[in-house]
């Protein structure tokens, strides 16, 4: 299939007329049937809902996190900073052994550095990190892009259920 330039026999002026026809019928189509043909939306008034798996922001579940530091190690951009301490937890069954448990002191993700690759969410062995398709958290100062523990916990509410799969 060659792009035979000779096979495109077109009258001298017709090329431009075809172009004009395309723009004019797009204009009338967009004016009279905007629902079907208008491609843009008015952003703050009308908002598009992102897909379920969209990687907008990372949400943290503090109870699940055991400060194993795997996510901080695997992150290519070194943008997760974690500090924790050991703490006693009363045993499940009365008289059981006192269990020592790691609890988080600090879990910051610097979204100014993060490249949304998703390695941390994938590598976390304790279901502590989730993706949420939220995207409206831009800041005026770059420093505010450092989300602390509680803010990441706040995103947990916006994590969507997993989409059903193709049969």
């Amino acid at each position: 299939m060659t792009t035979k330039t000779t096979e495109r026999r077109v009258l001298p002026g017709m090329g431009m007329v075809k172009g004009l026809w395309v723009t004019i019928y797009t204009m009338f189509r967009t004016i009279f049937r905007p629902g079907k043909y208008l491609a843009t939306i008015n952003y703050p008034v009308v908002k598009e809902t992102p897909v379920a798996r969209a990687r907008g922001v990372i949400a943290l579940d503090q109870e699940a996190c055991t400060v194993c530091m795997l996510c901080a190690r695997q992150c290519p951009d070194w943008c997760i900073y974690i500090e924790g301490h050991k703490e006693e937890k009363e045993p499940d069954k009365p008289g059981g052994r006192i269990k020592v448990r790691n609890t988080l002191d600090r879990f910051d993700i610097d979204y100014a550095l993060c490249m949304y690759c998703g390695i941390c969410v994938e590598v976390c062995p304790f279901d502590a990190l989730f993706w949420s398709p939220e995207y409206e958290y831009s800041e005026t100062q770059m420093g505010d892009m450092l989300h602390d523990m509680d803010r990441l916990q706040g995103w947990l509410a916006t994590v969507p259920p997993d989409p059903e799969l193709e049969k």
């Binding site: 792009t3 290519p76 490249m115 994938e122 279901d127």
Partner: protein
Amino acid sequence: MVLDQDLVRHLSEASVSVELETPEMTLNIGPQHPSTHGVLRLVARVDGERAFDVQPVIGYMHRGYEKISEVRTYPQVTTLVNRIDWVSGYANEVPFIVAAEKLLGVEVPERAQFIRLILTEMARISSHLIFMASYPLELGAATPLFFALRERERVLDLLEGVTGGRFHPNFNRIGGVKPAYGSGSATRKVIQDLPAGFFAETRVAMDKVLYAVDELDALVADNEIIVARTKGVGILPPDVAASFGVSGPNLRASGVKFDLRKVEDYLPYHLFDFEIPVGENGDCWDRWHVRLLEIRQSVRIVQQAIDGIPSGPLQAKVPKIIKVPLGETYVRAENPKGEMGYYLVSNGNQGPYRLKIRTASFSNISILPWILEGVLIPDIIAIMGSLDFVLGDVDR
């Protein structure tokens, strides 16, 4: 006051015979310029409108990927690698992962290969649609941009639906495709297969892409002004193209019927029938038209792949911490911009020992000094636009 005749004659001849000596001017096109596709700088010695010595200066966007990849593990390099040609993010990951799988000797399951193929062809469609949008804009026509980008959004939404990322999907894993949401007890069971309704949406999107391609064809292909601006401009003979390493649509536009998808086995292209559009005389118009026809071929491939996709696991049996055994291999793939290859040398650790990234745009624009010799400035923009390069691809 009677003018003496020979003075008049002398003056008239003088003006005719003396060649107007205008000093030539050095014009910097870029690195901050509306149509250099990124931060490319052309230092052009210009006489009036004609440029006769154009030297590209690159490196403004050199991120040193080959050095960084020596300290990264394989999953981390995948996130690095899909940022080289960000217009077709997914297509960059595939050859790197196939190279690692070759060294490991891992057989990728059938379904994962099909998903990879569908997403690579979608990345090709989105890359060619960006070209369909930006090239007429460089010639002055603003409307095709919106037709092309409107359909590109549909394709990117599909990519985002499956992988979660529009430009940088990071969806490839050694041995197949990303199997599960996470590795926790609950998230391990959440399979990252194609979301429900993906096939239906893809069929609708592919029809819309075909419709938009017809609209672009009507709007741009036979337009007398575009034909006048691009036909016979920037002719690239096949032998010069080969010696510079120009590949992909630019090479096929010069009449060379060579497509890596038919030759290499990095993805199961042999299962589908598609044609390779070839240009005739290698000028800007042919380079534009070959890409337009390639979109139609990619749509055909995607439609066939959707109908024939088998079910099965998403990833082969692969240990959690992957150590690739000693060895070196070169895998090359047909990226939308041309031949993209990875020369991977591994030393048995978690990351590559040395990774040479052969990118298409680097060789495609190394031809600029040759092709822009004695060319008018509007043609510099037309020829550069027709080569369809991206600076991330050039500078790595």
